[in-house]
């Protein structure tokens, strides 16, 4: 059975070109980029080439890129850097729908001497900017808002918000892990100070990320150790994966148009057809300002894990915000923050596409999913009640 992979916001397949770029660094070019001798200098060279490619994707200078081990580390690095560089300020603002990399760190900070504000969102996941601006103060060291939400694809107007924030002398960080590679990003004339990205969301391997730090931003390292990354991140560089990320960044630039035309059309077709064929189904998130590859649909009165496992039997991979699929046994904090009713939250399914998906795959899902939903609803005590009710 062929796998139809529609879970690209969870992780992506490594592009074959990326694997090819990595292999020499796993074989002959194994030296330590900090070493003196010839073979190691070639390694350092490849590392810097990768840095230039990542910088290009964002439209920034290579010296503004720090390589890290993942999106989570990039977020932690940005947040701690801003807080440590502004030790007199004790306030941090973020949103209620951030990825755990930011949300859980925010909660940690609120237990450890910081005042932390979590901006609410409306039922479509749109930010409450009035609330946000009202809460900025002289004590605010840092704002961290995600660019694109991983569960719903909803986009925050981070460039606009960053401009307002910068005027007040507050550092602005964005978790752009889901945005980079999916929508065009030009940082050069933006007011964003720091931006986090993660390789495995754009067809590079897992375990490598980057942080953009605008030139002139006060910085204090999170990963304290050796002098790597110009003293901004200790630890021997993950050369092969960084080189892979460089290749992936170049590919992402090449694929940007397809992502925003062909992939968007496939996503729209999937969404429209599923909503047309399945009753009591609804979109979660902001249909207007949204990533081109993501749709999050709730199927009322049934539960997400069951849907995922029945889809798995058909070779279809997706994910769910249901409590039953999470390690924590709590439903998605994003859907709860949006006030998605419990009748819908448990049966939410996120489909996230990539340039590797085909129309035939989407047609297959459109054809097969209605029966899966119907079958689970037949077993559900609530569906019958609603039908007869």
């Amino acid at each position: 059975m062929k796998t139809i992979y529609l879970d690209n916001n969870a992780t992506t397949a490594v592009a074959p070109e990326v694997v090819d770029a990595m292999l020499p660094c796993l074989r002959e070019f194994y030296g330590n980029p900090s070493s003196m001798y010839g073979p190691a200098r070639q390694v350092a060279h490849r590392l810097e080439e990768a840095r230039a490619r990542v910088a290009d994707l964002l439209g920034v200078s290579p010296a503004e890129i720090i390589f890290t081990s993942c999106g989570t580390e990039s977020d932690s690095t940005a947040i701690w850097a801003a807080l440590r560089a502004n030790p007199d300020k004790r306030h941090f603002i973020t949103s209620r729908v951030e990825h755990p990399a930011v949300k859980n760190l925010g909660e940690y900070l609120s237990r450890n001497g910081y005042r932390v504000t979590f901006m609410p969102v409306d039922s479509r996941g749109r930010p409450d900017l009035d609330f946000f601006y009202d809460h900025l103060s002289d004590d605010t060291a840092l704002v961290s808002l995600m660019w694109a939400n991983n569960e719903t694809g909803t986009l925050f107007p981070v460039e606009e918000v960053a401009r307002q924030v910068k005027e007040r002398g507050i550092v602005f960080h964005t978790d752009a892990v889901q945005a980079v590679g999916k929508i065009p990003i030009r940082m050069a004339d933006s007011a964003i100070d720091m931006l986090a990205l993660s390789g495995h969301k754009l067809h590079a391997p897992k375990g490598v990320g980057a942080l953009y730090v605008r030139k002139g931003t006060k910085f204090s390292p999170f990963m304290i150790g050796g002098h790597q990354e110009s003293g901004r991140r200790g630890g021997t560089e993950n050369v092969a994966s960084v080189v892979g990320l460089g290749r992936a960044a170049a590919l992402a630039a090449d694929h940007m148009e397809a992502e925003n035309t062909r992939v968007r059309q496939l996503r729209d077709k999937l969404e429209t057809e599923l909503l047309r064929r399945i009753p009591n189904a609804m979109i979660n998130g902001d249909p207007e300002h949204r990533l081109p590859n993501t749709t999050n649909i709730s199927f009322e009165y049934i539960e997400g894990e069951s849907i995922l496992l029945m889809m798995d039997e058909l070779g279809i991979c997706a994910s769910s915000g249901s409590a039953c699929t999470s390690g924590s046994l709590e439903p998605s904090h994003v859907l709860r923050a949006m006030g998605v009713p419990f009748t819908a939250a448990h049966g939410s399914v996120r489909f996230s596409l990539s340039v590797y998906n085909t129309e035939a795959e989407i047609d297959y899902v459109i054809e097969k999913l209605p029966a899966v939903i119907a079958r689970l609803r037949d077993m559900s005590p609530f569906w019958q009640q609603v039908q007869t009710g």
Binding site: L329, R336, F342, V386
Partner: protein, 152 residues
């Protein structure tokens, strides 16, 4: 990440005894729509008070569905006294084990069975109106009933 046994998968994909017995002798309902898991169990007895027929409806994960299916298989042909001895461990064992995080899905089966037997015997099961049943959504049981009836 949890691993399901083949038996769990088989009962999830081909659940036995799905449905509701219209003129049931015992009916037990547990869980809630708010919390994402609920189970309705109905059974019919023969003249010797043995379980002749039993059906379920489940809203929940694969373990919840497989556990319900397993429970109905375990119950068939048992006397009420024997049925009362069935525990959630029996359900889990019947399925070749459940992941630790998913044991509560089999507890639901045991609870529904207790309620159904109590229902048959006419023992009142207390149900407080307006009780908070869901921490995450802060929902009461009254609101859940309303959510179902108001929908259409």
């Amino acid at each position: 990440m949890w691993e399901y046994t083949d038996k769990v998968k088989e009962h999830f994909l081909n659940p036995r005894n799905v449905g509701v017995i219209e003129d049931a002798d015992g009916v037990g309902e547990v869980g809630s729509l708010a919390c994402g898991d609920a189970l309705k169990l109905t059974f019919k007895l023969d003249e010797n008070e043995r379980i002749k027929d039993v059906k379920f409806q489940t809203f929940g994960c694969a373990s919840a569905i497989a556990s319900s299916s397993a429970l109905t298989e375990l119950l068939k042909g048992k006397s009420l006294a024997e049925a009362e001895q069935v525990t959630n461990d029996d359900i889990a064992n019947y399925l070749g084990g459940l992941p630790r995080e998913k044991m509560h899905c089999s507890v639901m089966g045991q609870e529904a069975l207790e309620k159904a037997i109590a229902c048959y015997r006419g023992v009142p099961v207390e149900e407080k109106e307006g009780e908070i049943v869901c921490e995450c959504f802060g929902v009461t049981d009254v609101e859940i009933r309303r959510a179902l009836t108001d929908h259409h």
